[in-house]
């Protein structure tokens, strides 16, 4: 389910070119939605002073996550290798249950749908959904 075809990779790269410049807004919105719609995800951020979706910590985290996704796009031809360090971080330090990657991916797709109502076609959606699933798998690579 996670082998990206050449067509998928092209679709992701083409769509991502449109995202350029809006990454911060998209990332912060995705994380805000994740915290609001799936409150159980807040358990990972108990160390934040302010857990509200629009808090400075949430915004900063959205930017961090989005940088990671953008990085993954550039390493789309070898996600396992390219995301090795991030995988180790998520496996040994953060220990985020991989089910949460799906949650964040969904929130990210909702934001893309809002920001790009005409470009986020079903075809673009399936390519991005596959891509995010592949990223999630690469991030979970070192878990066990």
């Amino acid at each position: 389910m996670t082998t990206l075809t050449a067509k998928d990779k092209d679709a992701v790269r083409t769509f991502w070119a449109k995202v350029s410049g809006k990454e911060e807004d998209i990332g912060t919105d995705a994380v805000a939605r994740m915290l609001a719609v799936y409150p159980q995800t807040k358990t990972y951020f108990a160390h934040w002073k302010d857990l509200s979706p629009s808090s400075p910590s949430a915004r900063k985290h959205g930017i961090t996550v989005m940088k990671g996704v953008a990085d993954a796009v550039s390493k789309i031809d070898d996600l396992k290798g390219g995301l090795l360090t991030l995988s180790e971080l998520h496996a040994f330090t953060l220990r985020v249950d991989p089910a949460n990657f799906k949650i964040l991916s969904h929130c990210l797709l909702v934001v893309l749908s809002i920001k790009f109502p005409n470009d986020f076609t079903p075809e673009a959606h399936v390519a991005l959904d596959k891509f995010l699933a592949a990223v999630a798998l690469a991030l979970a690579e070192k878990y066990r």
Binding site: V110, I114, P117, P122, E123, H125, V126
Partner: protein, 147 residues
Amino acid sequence: MVKWTDEERKVINNIFSNLDYDDIGPKALRRCLVVYPWTQRHFSSFGDLSSPAAIMKNAKVAAHGVKVLHGLDRALKNMDNIKATYTELSILHSEKLHVDPDNFRVLADCLTITIAAKMGDSFTAATQAIFQKFLCVVVSALGRQYH
């Protein structure tokens, strides 16, 4: 029993009263069939589903999308007892249609994304939370009678 605040009822009713069923229903179902192609297994009598283009043009898909979206009206009218409201439909989907209940979840996700595109920035995080809570209850009710 699921509890709904006045605000939640207001938001949900607002979304549906402004909804163009003939537009959103087809779009949500088409998206589901393209993004999760295994869902096509239930529509072998619908004709050509061989490509996203074919799915977009397929009249049976469009009609079915409208029908499914109107299915949510039942929940809207019976928000305090969604579980009982969908008993018959749940039995139908389990015993006659043999639909894996996970499909309800993926269609709900596609509907969320379709409505987000339509509503734009007014589909705030808070609105999304309320809408997804509503869909989650419906999805759960539809899966309730499976055994």
